[in-house]
Amino acid sequence: MSDYFIEFAGQKYPTDVQGFLKNRLSWSADLGRHMASLDHVVLTDEHWEIIHYFREYYEDYNIPPPMRMVMRVFKKAFGEENANSRYLLQLFPEGATKAASKFGGLPKPKNCK
């Protein structure tokens, strides 16, 4: 059992020390919103677009999507002019891969880069 957890709606959700969920299947959108609020982030539609993409990609491949692919999705959803890494960094100041994984209930991405 994990030493760390998030308490939400009367339930305890085990996490790692940095607040990433141990069991991605226990995730819900409400929990994701709560996790973001703990990091002082209010999730907008744009955030959700990215988070859902991360979740679907991870479900298919057990790995976070490469940034190139994230950009492609972003471009499609919000137009060429908004789809740049600067804009993505405004949405997710901690880095899109790390934050989208976290709020989407996915494990912490490897830092072997």
């Binding site: 030493d3 790692d16 020390v17 940095q18 490897k110 830092n111 072997c112 880069k113």
Partner: protein, 129 residues
Amino acid sequence: MRFNLLITGGLYNSQAGYSALAFAKATIAAGHQISQVFFYQDGVTLGSRLSMPLDDEFEPVAAWAEFAAQNTLALVICVSAGERRGIMSDAQAAEFAKGLGSLHANFSVAGLGALHNASLESDRTVTFK
């Protein structure tokens, strides 16, 4: 010539640490340079400061640490391979709330990018498994 060494064999399941050290010494003796020694897969266990062989046994970690100090050599442990196997610096251990780290002071931690940088910049990459 610039050599980049990659060690993937573990502390006690392979002779890799011993062979690579002999090779590294011969490389320097022949007038070549070693750009970096990268430890990956089970090889990261060679960076454990907590390894304590019997007094009359070969001490791979201490031998590497001493050789690196004498030749100002970079000994680099792969961060993710190390974290999987419990070889991490004090800073990493603190980040994970695990108390003190297990990494020997003469080793450092970096990502697989460091292996690729060194490999692409060196004349030879030599792997010991």
